[in-house]
C-alpha cells in the first residue's frame, strides 16, 4: 500500500523539479515568438498567437549570420583539433606510459581548475604581443588548448579500457602503430570520442570571457553577441535575446539529444563499459 502511494509521489516530485529548472528555458523559447509587449507582460501569457517576426528580424541582421558562423567555425575547428591531439596524447600515455604520466595527467586536469578570470590578463598580454587578438587562429588556438586536458582525461580512460591484446594482435597481423591507433583503437573508443567532442563543444560554444576580452568584431561568437546586443536605445531587447538564445541553444540541444547515451559513458571516463 505504502509502495503504491510513494511511487507516484516520487515521480510527481521529479516532474515538478524538472519543470522548475526547465521553466526559464521554456520562457525564453516562448518569448522568441512573442511581441515586445507580450514578453514583459505580468502575469506571462502562456497561450498566445505566435509571431515569427523576431526570428525574421534576427535573420535579416547582417551580423547575426557572422556570429552564428563564427560560433560554428571556431567551436567545431577547435574541438576537432583538440580531439585529434588528445587522442594521440592519450594513446601515448595509455600505451607507452612515459615517466611521470600520473603527474602530467594531474597537471593537465588542474589547468581546467584555474578560473578563466585568473588567466585572462596574461593571455591578453600574450595575444596582444603575438598579434593574435581578434583572429580566428588566436581563438581556435585558445579553445583547442583549453579543450585538450579534459579530452585527454576522457580518452585515456577509454583507451585504458581497450586491452593491449588488440594492439598486439594488430602488430602480429602486420599493422604499424599508426594502423593500430587509427584502425584498431580509434573505432573502439567511438563513444569516448563523441562524449569528449560534445563536452568540449558545450564548453566552447558557451564560452564568453575569452571571446569578449581577446576577441573582437571579426571573431565574435553568439554568447558575446548576446551580451553586447542586449541593450538598445529602447532598453533591453528581450525579443532579440530570446530569439538569439533559441537559435543559439537549439544546435546544442539537438546534439545532446542524439548523443546522450555517449555522454553517460563519457562522464564515467570509460570506466563503465556501456554497449553503445
Amino acid at each position: 500500500m505504502k509502495k503504491n502511494f510513494s511511487k507516484p509521489l516520487y515521480y510527481t516530485l521529479l516532474w515538478v523539479t524538472s519543470l522548475l529548472f526547465f521553466l526559464p528555458v521554456f520562457w525564453i523559447f516562448l518569448s522568441a515568438f512573442k511581441t515586445k509587449e507580450q514578453v514583459v507582460q505580468i502575469p506571462p501569457d502562456w497561450v498566445f498567437m505566435p509571431t515569427f517576426q523576431n526570428i525574421l528580424n534576427m535573420l535579416k541582421d547582417a551580423h547575426f549570420l557572422q556570429y552564428l558562423s563564427n560560433s560554428f567555425f571556431i567551436s567545431l575547428t577547435a574541438v576537432t583539433i583538440a580531439i585529434l591531439v588528445s587522442f594521440l596524447a592519450s594513446y601515448s600515455f595509455s600505451r607507452f606510459k612515459p615517466k611521470g604520466t600520473d603527474f602530467i595527467m594531474f597537471v593537465l586536469l588542474s589547468i581546467r581548475m584555474v578560473p578563466g578570470a585568473a588567466t585572462i590578463l596574461p593571455m591578453y598580454l600574450m595575444y596582444a604581443f603575438f598579434g593574435l587578438k581578434n583572429t580566428y587562429v588566436g581563438m581556435i588556438f585558445m579553445y583547442t588548448m583549453f579543450s585538450i586536458p579534459f579530452s585527454v582525461w576522457i580518452l585515456k580512460g577509454f583507451i585504458d579500457g581497450i586491452s593491449t591484446k588488440f594492439d598486439e594482435t594488430a602488430l602480429v597481423n602486420g599493422g604499424s602503430h599508426f594502423h593500430i591507433m587509427f584502425k584498431v583503437v580509434l573505432p573502439q573508443i567511438k563513444p569516448g570520442i563523441i562524449a569528449a567532442f560534445i563536452f568540449n563543444i558545450i564548453f566552447v560554444w558557451n564560452e564568453f570571457l575569452f571571446n569578449f576580452i581577446v576577441g573582437g568584431n571579426k571573431v565574435t561568437t553568439i554568447p558575446v553577441a548576446l551580451a553586447t546586443g542586449v541593450v538598445s536605445s529602447q532598453g533591453i531587447e528581450w525579443t532579440y535575446v530570446a530569439s538569439l538564445s533559441l537559435v543559439y541553444t537549439l544546435p546544442l540541444i539537438i546534439a545532446i539529444y542524439f548523443c546522450q547515451k555517449y555522454l553517460l559513458v563519457g562522464m564515467t571516463f570509460g570506466t563503465v563499459r556501456g554497449e553503445v
Binding site: E168, A170, L171, V172, N173, G174
Partner: protein
C-alpha cells in the same frame, strides 16, 4: 611450414628469470603444447617467438633464419590470445577481413579466404552477425579464423579456451581438434590445462620455473615422466609418491618396504644416495576385496566419485596414504578393508627427483 628453433633463450624481468636459457626445436607442421603451471614462463616464451617481447639473450630461428630483431609484422605468425580479440561495431566477416586488407589481396580472393576459413572453423552462419551478438566461444573462433585466413607459417595460441564457459569449452576443444587436423602450419599452443595439451598436442614441452622439464609425446610424458614434477603435474590426481630407503647389497640396490609384499630390487649398478621416490599413478594401483598375490592389506579412508564416474579412493597403507582410481562398477562392491598392490611394471622410481630408467623387480 616452418621449423622454430630456440637457442639458449633467456628473459629476465628485473630479478625474475621468466625463461631460463631454453633450447628447443618446434617441429615443422606439428602441434606443440607448452604446458606448465601459471608463471612458469610459457606465455613469455610464446610472446618472444611472436616478437612481442624482447629477449634478454639467446636466439630464435625460423627455418634456420635468425629472427631476433625482426618486428612482429615481418615474422609471418598468427596469434590468438586468451581474451577473444574481436573488433566491436563490425560484423564477423569484416572482423576476419581486417588484416587481409593489408595483404593486397583482391576482394574476390579475400571473400574466398573468409568463406573457406569460416567453413573450416564452423562459423559460416555467423558471418553477417554483429560481433556483439556472439558468445565468447564464437568470438574466439572468429579470432582463430582471422589468424588462419592470413595463412601465416606459424600459429601461436595463448590459452585460447581460458575465457570460454564450461559448456562451450568442450565444444571448442572438439572443433579445435578437428581444425588442427586440417591445418598445415607449425602450431604452438600454450596451456596450463593438461587435458587440452593431451588431446591436441603432437608433442608437449612441460615447463616449470622457466625451464623445459621434459619434451615428449603426450603418452610418453604421461607414462614416463622424467621428473617427479612431471609425475605430479600430469594426471588428475597426479602420481602417488612414496619415499623409501634404498640399500646397496651384493651389487644390487634393495628397497625393503612394508609397501611391498616382498623385497624389491634395482638390479643394475647405480649410485643412489640413501632414498628413492617410488611413483605410481592412481589408475595403475590394483585393489580387490580378495587377496592379491603381491598385495598388502590396506584400509579405505575415503571414497568419492570423479567427474568421469570413476571412484577415487584414499587408501591408508601403514602410515602412508595413496590415491587410487578404479572403475565405478568395481568401486561399488569394495569393502573398507581391501588388498592393494602396486604392479612393479607400472612403478617409476625417482632418484633425487629424476627418473631411473630401470624397473623394479621382486628379489628372487
Amino acid at each position: 611450414m616452418a621449423i622454430i628453433r630456440i637457442e639458449k633463450l633467456r628473459k629476465e624481468f628485473k630479478e625474475v628469470v621468466a625463461v631460463n636459457d631454453l633450447t628447443l626445436d618446434f617441429e615443422d607442421s606439428k602441434i606443440t603444447c607448452l604446458l606448465g603451471p601459471s608463471g612458469c614462463g610459457k606465455t613469455t616464451l610464446l610472446r618472444m617467438i611472436a616478437g612481442l617481447e624482447k629477449m634478454t639473450s639467446g636466439n630464435i630461428y625460423f627455418n634456420d633464419i635468425k629472427i631476433n630483431d625482426l618486428p612482429p609484422r615481418k615474422r609471418n605468425v598468427g596469434m590468438v590470445f586468451q581474451y577473444p580479440v574481436v573488433y566491436r561495431g563490425i560484423d564477423v566477416y569484416h572482423n576476419i577481413e581486417l588484416p587481409l586488407l593489408k595483404e593486397g589481396l583482391s576482394s574476390k580472393e579475400r571473400k574466398k579466404r573468409i568463406y573457406d576459413v569460416a567453413e573450416m572453423v564452423g562459423i559460416e552462419n555467423s558471418l553477417k552477425k554483429n560481433i556483439n551478438q556472439l558468445d565468447n566461444a564464437t568470438k574466439q573462433f572468429v579470432a582463430v579464423a582471422r589468424e588462419i585466413a592470413r595463412q601465416p607459417e606459424i600459429l601461436l595460441f595463448d590459452e585460447p579456451i581460458t575465457n570460454v564457459d564450461a559448456n562451450s569449452k568442450l565444444q571448442f576443444k572438439h572443433a579445435f581438434k578437428e581444425l588442427t587436423k586440417q591445418l598445415k602450419q607449425t602450431i604452438i599452443y600454450v596451456t596450463h590445462d593438461q587435458t587440452e595439451a593431451m588431446s591436441f598436442a603432437d608433442k608437449i614441452a612441460l615447463m616449470n620455473d622457466g625451464k623445459i622439464i621434459q619434451y615428449d609425446s603426450p603418452r610418453k610424458l604421461y607414462n614416463e615422466p622424467e621428473t617427479t614434477f612431471g609425475g605430479w603435474f600430469l594426471g588428475n590426481p597426479g602420481m602417488n609418491f612414496i619415499t623409501q630407503p634404498c640399500q646397496k647389497e651384493d651389487g644390487q640396490f634393495k628397497i625393503k618396504s612394508d609397501q611391498f609384499a616382498r623385497t624389491v630390487i634395482l638390479k643394475k649398478r647405480r649410485n643412489i644416495k640413501g632414498k628413492v621416490k617410488i611413483g605410481i599413478r592412481p589408475e595403475y594401483i590394483k585393489v580387490s576385496n580378495e587377496k592379491l598375490p603381491y598385495g598388502i592389506k590396506s584400509e579405505i579412508k575415503r571414497k568419492s566419485i570423479t567427474i568421469g564416474g570413476q571412484y577415487l579412493l584414499t587408501i591408508q597403507r601403514g602410515d602412508i596414504i595413496v590415491k587410487a582410481k578404479i572403475p565405478h562398477k568395481k568401486g561399488l562392491g569394495l569393502s573398507k578393508n581391501i588388498w592393494v598392490e602396486f604392479p612393479l611394471d607400472r612403478i617409476t622410481v625417482f632418484d633425487n627427483g629424476n627418473r631411473i630408467k630401470e624397473k623394479l623387480q621382486y628379489r628372487e
